[in-house]
Symmetry: C3
Subunit: 202 residues, 3 copies
């Protein structure tokens, strides 16, 4: 089994938990609602990427491990949600792992399907962030990518670094780890020091 | 003409009416707005299913009867909306017929395109409920599947029963009627006795 | 280079600006957020059309001029947003140019892919208006097509006129200009005289 595949499952787990806990804030969602939101959060980004790239079958249609992983995340959320909510930091780290892994997974997939550099970086970022955009839209929140700390930007920077190192013929596995780490480190630093992008309009 | 096809048109009519009346609650939509919402409600679920399954052309692109049926639903809504709104029960029954029929139609289509059991049930449920999710998101309501009585769950149960009976080699038409009826009966009982799924978080 | 292609780029620029300025109303979006909304507004309609028509690769995946045009629109918005907001009329004219051009571009594309007349008109209208629907949904506004002056209706009328003139064997370029002008004129008259469609329910 490829190391990337394990990373993808870990990212899926992280996003499923983040989706299941997003419902918690309103306290009103039933079992179906939470399951639905967890799925959308975990597979939404990759699904939109695959629709855009005309890549079929969709990943979760052919790989039941993705589905089992999401159910695992839902069950973990139910069992440990009090802990998880105390441990906002743990959650943020999971989510950070998720976007770091999904960005590179999505970028590599777009590249392998012949997308140019710009589109590959965008598809990597979409894979990482669009599940969260759908989650927030469904629960009528302004998507966090619009109002929060550096998030999608970290994915874009990491994607660009991946492309540069790839151009320099760096080994793909090492590149994956370096670029993914860059994304994670940028996000963590941004959260820790409360950094954000400048507002577009002053 | 297949009996399933007639069922599909009846489901389409029911959803078009439900979409056209959803706009009514706010009283501000014009003719275009209502038409748009009625279409999204009636074809949204099937369209997303077909995009996910890579099944082209989309049903409403090749079959104008679907389109005529939706316009019929819009005209009926305009003529009878006072009656319809008095008769919430009638409407709920139409909607219940819609989800029962669309679930099995969607499940069978996914199966015929080679989807596994899990995905087939999910595609059936998506066909039934996603039009309503889009409708609610467009008019800025929290999608009813998240807050209401047993709804999507009835579709999932009916889908699973269809698969079990299909495995037992039951005739497809009889199976369609039995599984669809299960969905309808569960929904009606849930509404009548105000049953709902347990909240995910206590 | 075809005249239509230049029209498409002008329409893209107009929509990118309209998207970038939509974020302004809330004053809180950062650089990434504005860029994201500008892209969605400019390419959302065409992307949904292409997904529905199974037309790959998506336009913006293969033509970087579209991407450069959107970035140009974003930069122009930043430089001139005070001017733009004083000049609501200028903006409305840009947007009107956008829907006029995108309607005919989308209609012709659908036709060339074998869609029937009804679907071609709908695809033209979708190309013109769905980017704005996504923009409004993302920033939690009721989509303007539901509440404002004659907008999508102008696209539909222009599309129908295109089909009629096409049936009469009118030269395609002349037809493009006539039908597009009809859309623009209807919209401008509707704005000037504050015309709107009748409400669906009295």
């Amino acid at each position: 089994m490829q190391i990337q595949y394990i990373f993808e499952l870990i990212g899926t787990l992280a996003f499923a938990i983040s989706g299941a806990l997003a419902g918690d804030e309103r306290q009103k969602h039933d079992w179906f609602g939470i399951t639905f939101i967890a799925f959308i959060t975990a597979i939404g980004g990759g699904t939109i990427r695959d629709l855009f790239l005309n890549s079929y079958p969709l990943v979760w249609f052919k790989d039941m491990n993705i589905v089992y992983t999401i159910f695992l995340g839902i069950i973990m959320s139910r069992l440990f949600y009090k802990k998880f909510n105390q441990l906002k930091l743990t959650l943020m780290l999971f989510d950070t792992l998720g976007i770091a892994l999904f960005t590179i997974v999505g970028l590599e997939k777009a590249q392998s399907l012949g997308a140019n550099d710009f589109i590959s970086v965008v598809m990597g970022m979409f894979t990482a962030v669009l599940g969260g955009v759908l989650r927030d839209t469904l629960i009528n929140k302004t998507p966090t990518i619009f109002v929060q700390e550096i998030y999608a930007t970290a994915c874009i920077i990491g994607g660009v670094i991946y492309l540069i190192l790839d151009d320099l013929q760096l080994d793909r596995n090492i590149n994956f780890i370096i670029s993914g780490s860059v994304i994670a480190v940028i996000r963590i630093i941004a959260v820790k020091f409360n950094l954000s992008l400048p507002k577009f309009y002053k």
